[in-house]
């Protein structure tokens, strides 16, 4: 039996390489061939080791060496992650560019964290303190946040010394009595979820300031959402709005198998966008992972894990993290590609039979938890799916929808009509609403839920009435139903449409969302009363207060206006005899 740390290649078939004479553990990283290409062990058969290689294998031949690094695929976790842009296996792209030029060539390694940069470390523990894994030992200012330096999970002991000062990520800042050297950074295998104390119920919303999301289809902190990213639906703007405004402190954006030019766009806009909370560039709290569609497929498969591990690290510091995976369909295709090279028995449409379990394992790594360090932190995942041929019955979409609790149906029809954000209110859903009800009741308004239900019902009724209208025209409807259409239109145009580019409208606090919807409802109630008194609908619609209600979302004074407009509404309806 082979026992060595190194062996020889016996077969090369695209990104899948078979080796003999080396006996690594499953998922160990190995260096393949004379170029020392990075690969990962994905199967052990007899004396043979099957490896997926993260780089192009052209020119590699049987007989070349394979060396086991003895460790699984890991990422470096420490200060310096924020504002970085990595490939799928955490190689910093700017460093690669400096080393090898404009094209990503092979066999170059670069550490994920800058080795020379010094960080200002301030300990929060002292000599003699009893520590356990995952605890915070000190703080370092990083980007727009305070980076908590964590003891790696699984390491315990008493502090024997610890010092304040400027350190690089490799330098020792202190020691434990077990001999463990405390450093600013540590490594973690990407395929193992980082431990936490306990998972909490997702009963706090991730507030995004986007009315259609917060009011109708809320995502919980630690929740999961899917958006279908078909071509041209405004996915990019939506994800930028989420990154910019949601009350998550850290954003991890995984560009998995997407366009190069698109990643460039994300990169430029994120560096230009201002973080509204600190006034600094948004990149200062963002980690970008870019593995474009023509970069090696195995690294694409890994990129999603690299992203979630970095997200978990910041969660463990007690932060709320939002992770955008764009697109999980490309990730699944990478799995399919590798699986087919392994000649595995396929499931549906050639995808491996373990597709569903891999997807659910990934989504299960999000959630709101009590961390080992004490405070709670969360990871909310927004996964884009790109159903091929727009066919939602394909396996990736279906398996994703089985897991995620929120579906934001971006709709190209709405986009064509210039309704933004183009989220379809009839096909979208959120299963978190009942769980979040209590929070909204306590923090926003007592009657939040009934109000939300009323809005949903009105929109639903509208779509039923629209079918009739298309046959007979709206004039044939009774006044009351025409009023429903009118109110639904107000909900759509005033409330659901929101301009990402307007200074006031781009972010709408929850209280304001409530007041706004409440005002529309009051208008509806008063109109109903008016109609029962046989006031013609045209007169109601012509009321000035209606037009004002539509315009006020663009006014700086919106919150004050919302207070006064109710009185004004009563007055104008009184003029109609209500």
């Amino acid at each position: 039996m082979a026992s060595g740390k190194s062996g020889r290649i016996s077969r090369v078939a695209g990104p899948v390489v078979t080796a003999e004479g080396v006996s690594p553990r499953m998922y160990d990283v190995v260096l393949v061939g004379e170029l020392k290409l990075m690969g990962e062990v994905i199967k052990l058969v007899g004396d043979k080791t099957v490896i997926q290689v993260y780089e192009d294998t052209s020119g590699i031949r049987p007989g070349e060496a394979v060396v086991d690094t003895g460790a699984p695929l890991q990422v470096e976790l420490g200060p310096g992650l924020l504002s970085s842009i990595y490939d799928g296996v955490q190689r910093p792209l700017p460093v690669l560019m400096a080393k090898q030029g404009d094209f990503v060539s092979r066999g170059v390694t670069a550490p994920g964290l800058d080795r020379s940069k010094k960080w200002k470390f301030k300990p929060t523990v002292k000599k003699g303190d009893d520590l356990h894994g995952g605890m915070v030992v000190g703080e370092v200012p990083e980007g727009n946040i305070v980076h908590k330096v964590l003891l790696p999970p699984g390491v315990d002991g008493k502090v024997t010394d610890i010092s304040e000062g400027e350190f690089t990520v490799e330098e020792r800042v202190g020691s434990l009595d077990t001999g463990h050297a405390i450093k600013l950074a540590h490594n973690w295998p990407v395929r193992s979820p980082r431990p936490y104390l306990e998972k909490l119920l997702p009963d706090i919303p991730l507030v995004t300031g986007q009315r259609v999301l917060d009011t109708l289809f809320p995502l919980a902190k630690g929740g999961t959402a899917a958006i279908p990213g078909g071509f041209g639906t405004g996915k990019t703007v939506t994800s930028q709005q989420l990154s910019k405004w949601s009350d998550a402190q850290i954003v991890v954006y995984v560009g998995c198998g997407e366009r190069g030019n698109e990643m460039t766009e994300v990169l430029t806009t994120f560096s230009e966008l201002e973080d509204p909370k600190t006034g600094k560039p948004l990149m200062g709290r963002t980690v970008l992972i870019a593995n474009t569609s023509n970069m090696p497929v195995a690294a694409r498969e890994a990129s999603v894990y690299t992203g979630i591990t970095i997200a978990e690290y910041y969660r463990d510091m007690g932060y709320d993290v939002s992770l955008m995976a764009d697109s999980t369909s490309r990730w699944a295709e990478a799995m399919r590609e590798i699986s087919s090279r392994l000649e595995e028995m396929p499931g549906e449409e050639g995808y491996p039979a373990y597709l569903a379990s891999r997807l659910s394992e990934f989504y299960e790594r999000c959630g709101r938890v009590n961390t080992l360090a004490g405070p709670t932190g969360s990871i909310s995942v927004i996964g884009a799916v790109s159903p091929s041929g727009g066919d939602f019955s394909e396996p990736v979409t279906q398996n994703t929808l089985r897991i995620v609790k929120v579906f934001w149906a971006l709709d190209s029809k709405l986009r064509e009509r210039r309704h933004f954000p183009a989220i379809n209110w009839l096909t979208s859903y959120s299963l978190y609403s009942p769980m979040l009800e209590e929070w909204y009741r306590r923090n926003v308004a007592e009657d939040w839920s009934p109000l939300r239900l009323w809005a949903m019902e009105t929109l639903q009724k509208e779509s039923e009435l629209q079918e009739v209208v298309q046959l007979v025209g709206s004039d044939a409807l009774p006044e009351e139903q025409r009023l429903t259409l009118e109110v639904a239109r107000m909900i759509r145009e005033f409330f659901l449409q929101q301009s990402a580019y307007h200074a006031v409208d781009t972010y709408s606090p929850l209280k304001r969302q409530y007041e706004y919807m409440n005002a529309i409802r009051r208008f509806s109630d008063l109109s109903k009363k008016a109609i029962s008194l046989e006031v013609p609908l045209d007169k109601i619609v012509a009321l000035k207060v209606r037009a004002d209600l539509g315009k006020l979302k663009f006014e700086e004074t919106i919150d004050a206006d919302l207070k006064t407009i109710l009185g004004e509404m009563d007055r104008q309806f009184a003029g109609l005899g209500v």
Binding site: R11, V12, T57, G59, L96, F103, R259, E262, L267, N294
Partner: protein, 459 residues
């Protein structure tokens, strides 16, 4: 001298299996000497201690068990040089035009490495193609990849040729160099392209790769890679702006499927291999701009949608990689409208970055939004007219209906030599819009109406 093996133990379709070799590299170039003295070339697809699988580019006809197999010790490389401009090459890069052999300045790997996303520059220079339905509604920028989704019998070749002829960046004298790669098109079609290149003198600034319908299908897998390698050399080494036309990608994908089937791979949708997305991406993603480099690669892949089905895996996967698509419409073609661009189904994802002040004109976005919306409204009304008749429409609706017809007839339709400037395109848009009531122009800012609307301009 490379060793010659006579140990072929299996030939199946385009694949040759050779036993008992010294270690052979994955992707290595192979030459096979046939009994009749001819030489075929291939590439290693799978290599192991026991057996090496070779995909033969020129087809396996004539190869027997005794044929000599030589491994050439390097992967497929493309010799490139500035002198390639004006040359016509075969699908595997050999001169077809009886010209002198090309003396290479460099030999480049044909599997291009990915451009580091960090090194990419944002594409934003407007390319004027002179075609209104593209310039006005689906604007192309330098560094973009914008496929033409067409169908059999539609004039996609004419559109591609017209673009190649007319494409220019405003304010720059320099023309585009054209790299043209034909994959499995008929010799008639190829002639058509060549004639046009010669007629317009475009051939001087073009490199042509021809893999025709009767050339081996497997060679098609090579052709676009050779073409793109050449394009990269011209763009990023020599600083030229290159327009790459690839036609027809559907034939390329068929070849991909053929290899997959021969290797008995597990197929994904409709028998195409599961790695087709990655494979197509490795072509399409070789477009773009690089920070600090002068040149650029803009791609125009042409693909015919089997059965005009846009959800077919080939257009579908393409649409997820490219930055939009120009869709050719059979309806418009039947009405005799050239170019038959289905504006409502076409899209340019990079349009926003290439239009507006400093690029085209300040009113471009508004005009295109308004044209789009009005055309959509007019088209919707056609359905209604079919049921209730034109008489039942309101005055306003009738105007929209007429607008849609005028839009197709005057804005979309143009001749094959008509090169409209962006000013002409936008002014034509305004002229058509002026037939609608002013208060129906809701997508256009008041200040643009005051400045550009014909009723205000005449004053």
């Amino acid at each position: 001298m490379a060793k010659e093996y006579h140990t072929i133990n299996q030939i199946a379709g385009p694949l040759v299996f050779v036993e008992k070799t010294e270690p052979v590299a994955y992707g290595e170039l192979v030459s096979i000497a046939l009994p009749d003295g001819s030489i075929k070339r291939g590439q290693v697809l799978d290599t192991s201690d026991d057996v090496v699988v070779i995909q033969v580019f020129e087809g396996t006809g004539g190869i027997d068990r005794a044929s000599g197999v030589k491994f050439l010790g390097e992967t497929v490389k493309m010799p490139v040089s500035k002198d390639m401009l004006g040359r016509i090459l075969s699908g595997s890069g050999d001169p077809l035009d009886k010209g002198p052999p090309i003396i290479p300045e460099k030999r480049l790997e044909i599997i291009g490495a990915a451009i580091n996303p960090y090194a990419r520059d944002n594409p934003q220079e407007f390319i004027q193609t002179g075609i209104s339905s593209i310039d006005g509604m689906n604007t192309l920028v330098r560094g973009q990849k914008l496929p033409i989704f067409s169908g059999s019998g539609l004039p996609h070749n004419d559109i591609a040729l017209q673009i190649a002829r007319q494409a220019k960046v405003l304010g720059e004298k320099e023309e585009f160099a054209v790299v043209f790669a034909a994959m499995g098109i008929t010799s008639e079609e190829a002639q058509y392209f060549m004639k046009d290149f010669e007629r317009t003198g475009a051939l001087k600034k073009a490199v042509v790769f021809l893999n025709l319908a009767d050339d081996p299908a497997i060679e098609r897998l090579l052709t676009p890679k050779l073409a793109l390698t050449t394009a990269e050399y011209l763009a990023f080494d020599l600083g030229m702006h290159v327009l790459v036309i690839l036609t027809d990608l559907t034939n390329y994908c068929e070849a991909l499927r053929q290899i997959g089937a021969a290797r008995e791979e597990v197929p994904a949708r409709r028998g195409y291999p599961g790695y087709m997305y990655t494979d197509l991406a490795s072509l399409y993603e070789r477009a773009g701009r690089i920070k600090g480099k002068r040149g650029s690669i803009t791609q125009f892949p042409i693909l015919s949608m089997p059965g005009d089905d846009i959800t077919h895996p080939i257009p579908d996967l393409t649409g997820y990689i490219t930055e939009g698509q120009i869709v050719a419409s059979r309806d418009l073609h039947r009405q005799g409208i050239y170019p038959p661009v289905a504006v409502e189904r076409s899209l340019s994802r990079l349009m926003g970055q290439g239009i507006g002040p400093g690029h085209t004109r300040e009113d471009h976005r508004a005009v295109s939004d308004q044209l789009y919306a009005a055309y959509a409204e007019g088209r919707d009304l056609r359905g209604l007219v079919a049921i209730v008749g034109k008489e039942a429409l309101s005055e306003r609706d009738r105007k929209f209906l007429d607008f849609a017809a005028a839009f197709e007839d005057r804005f979309v339709r143009q001749t094959k030599d008509e090169d409209r400037s962006i000013q002409q395109t936008l002014d034509l848009g305004w002229e058509l819009l002026s037939a609608l009531p002013v208060d129906a122009l809701t997508k256009i800012d008041r200040k643009f109406i005051e400045k550009y609307h014909p009723m205000n301009r005449k004053k």
